[in-house]
């Protein structure tokens, strides 16, 4: 066997890390972009029984091509069920049937709260972002919440301009006190490192650096003094099989290989 490591893009590392985190999962609420390709990779590797749920109103999608939008017709054809969005949000998401939800956004804080609404003041925005979509409900209801975001000081901030979707709020048991059904943030997958929230006050914690990434490079890109796990690991690089699946099956056009 050739053990020569294959070079990979940072986005491929993110996709692979996300797919691995889905090991054994049964249902995932899929967003466009990286989460979408990660879920498809997981289905083909660590989570063969994973069923994809799309907010457009699809359960059990089996897309014949890489969906380019969250409402791609290829998500419907060949799926197990296509329904009204009322049913999707009522019975699947709010009904507690979604195991993992993926989110990403412009700003995240140390407790995993997310801003996808505005930069600066709401009434007079410097940058108007997309807003919630289904994010607020995914954040509240998914049993586990995974974030996929590129690491940068502009994104990992001390103070959000707007809380669109709740993570652990002010930390500790703040989330439980609001009787939120879902378990909250579990994992933050970035292009440089992985973070969890396994701290008493549910604060984000660096636990794994991607291959070749220096600790300082991570710390420099976070707007607060981030906590570190007792032992930092190095993320296992994408395997040949994972890369082959991404490059040959899921994204032959290389849209996600930057």
């Amino acid at each position: 066997m050739n053990t020569q490591p294959v070079p990979f893009a940072a986005s491929e590392m993110m996709i692979v890390a996300a797919a691995r985190a889905l090991a054994g999962a049964r249902t995932v609420f899929v967003g466009v972009g990286l989460p979408n390709i990660a879920c498809n990779l997981a289905q083909r590797t660590v989570a063969p029984h994973l069923e994809l749920i799309y907010e457009a109103g699809v359960y059990g999608a089996r897309p014949t091509r890489l969906p380019l939008s969250i409402g791609d017709p290829a998500l419907v054809s060949g799926s197990l069920s296509a329904m009204s969005q009322a049913d999707l949000f009522s019975f699947y998401l709010q009904g507690g049937r979604v195991e993992v939800g993926f989110l990403g956004g412009a700003q995240i804080d140390r407790f995993g709260n997310l801003n996808t609404t505005v930069i600066s003041a709401y009434a007079k925005p410097k940058v108007r972002l997309p807003g919630s979509g289904g994010a607020c409900e995914i954040a509240i209801h998914a049993q586990k919440l995974f974030y996929i975001m590129r690491l940068s000081r502009r994104a990992f901030v001390q103070q959000l301009d707007f809380v669109t979707s709740p993570g652990f709020l002010a930390g500790g048991d703040a989330r439980e006190r609001l009787s939120m059904p879902g378990g909250g943030p579990r994992l933050v997958i970035t292009d440089k490192a992985l973070f969890d929230f396994n701290t008493p006050d549910r604060e984000m914690r660096l636990f794994s650096l991607h291959p070749g990434v220096a600790l300082e490079d991570v710390l420099d890109n976070i707007g607060w003094p981030v906590k570190l796990a007792q032992t930092l690991t190095v993320t296992a690089p994408p395997t040949d099989a994972e890369l082959r699946c991404i490059r040959q099956e899921l994204d032959p056009a290389g849209l996600y290989r930057q």
Binding site: V58, L68, G71, D72, Q94, R128, P130, V163
Partner: protein, 305 residues
């Protein structure tokens, strides 16, 4: 049978008036660009535009100056990026300031359901811990009489006009839809007037042969418009694909107000109706967007006598 067949021009003239609230719905799929363009051509103004995802169609309509207010839950070009015209309106007041009223997806769906079902509010477990209620006082909370638990509520939404695209309807407006059902049914029942736009007009017998597929009954439909390819660059399941190339191109065009105006001149003001737009689009594009076949199996409802 009373036919409700109108041309798009007639339907918009008759039912969409300045100052109206208008919902052209359809989640990624079935977005009736043909209706949006006709509203622009007729230079309607001061509209309140309602959609979960304003999408490129409302970006174009806002750029054309028909809107005063926007009610929505996700302001993005799906799979692409920003809606640049709407951002210009909100961030810089270009071409005019745009009022906004903002919810989450489930909040918008709940508003449609409450509107359709004549409920004073719709309860949902959302908004806790979010800044959205602070930004929109219409999002409220009520206490459950059973366990004292607090739950969010949103008020009913009853658009003056809803415009819904689908695969087929009969001339009385009994409408069948397959694929992404979105919130088409809910917004249709919530609206005061309903315009249905379809790829095909079929005999009533086709509808009656599969009553479980009828999403919108003729009972609540005011006008039926036959407009093949009327959802392009969005799509109609089984009829044509989403034109992703155009969604990407729009991201580029829409970054510049002048280029946007030029596009509107050419593709909206410059054509008299959808048929001309489709012709201008060309056979090659229509061919590129044509899917293969994937037929459902027929089911037997039984003949009971």
């Amino acid at each position: 049978m009373n036919t409700k067949l109108l041309s798009m021009r007639e339907a918009i003239e008759r039912y969409v008036h300045d100052g109206h609230s208008v919902a052209i719905e359809g989640f990624t799929a079935f977005i009736c660009f043909a209706a949006g363009h006709e509203i622009i051509r007729q230079r309607k103004h001061d509209l309140t535009l309602i959609r979960m995802t304003p999408d490129v169609i409302y970006d174009q309509m806002v750029a054309a100056g028909v809107a005063r207010r926007l009610v929505f839950s996700y302001l993005g070009n799906p799979g692409v990026g920003s809606l640049n015209c709407i951002r210009r309106a909100i961030e810089q007041g270009i071409p005019a300031p745009l009022e906004i009223e903002e919810y989450s997806h489930f909040g918008m769906i709940g508003r449609y359901i409450a509107g359709a079902a004549h409920l004073p509010f719709y309860p949902l477990r959302s908004y806790a811990g979010s800044d959205m209620p602070a930004a929109n006082s219409r999002i409220q909370f009520v206490q459950s009489p059973y366990d004292g638990e607090t739950v969010a509520v949103v008020p009913p939404l009853n658009p003056d006009v809803a415009i819904l695209h689908a695969q087929r309807a009969d001339a009385a407006g009994n409408t069948q839809l397959w694929g992404l059902l979105g919130a088409q049914k809910e917004v249709a029942f919530a609206a005061h007037k309903v315009i249905v736009v379809v790829e095909e007009i079929v005999e009533e017998a086709v509808i009656r042969a599969d009553p479980n597929r009828t999403i919108i009954p003729g009972l609540i439909v005011d006008a039926v418009v036959h407009e093949p390819f009327g959802a392009h660059p969005s799509y109609a399941q089984g009829y044509y694909d989403r034109d992703n190339a155009f969604y990407l191109e729009w991201d580029d065009i829409s970054r510049d107000a002048e280029r946007t105006a030029g596009w509107l001149d050419e593709w909206v003001y410059g054509v008299k109706d959808r048929a001309e737009y489709v012709q201008k689009l060309g056979a090659a594009t229509r061919q590129r967007l044509k899917p293969g076949d994937a037929w459902s199996q027929p089911v037997n409802y039984g003949d009971y006598r």
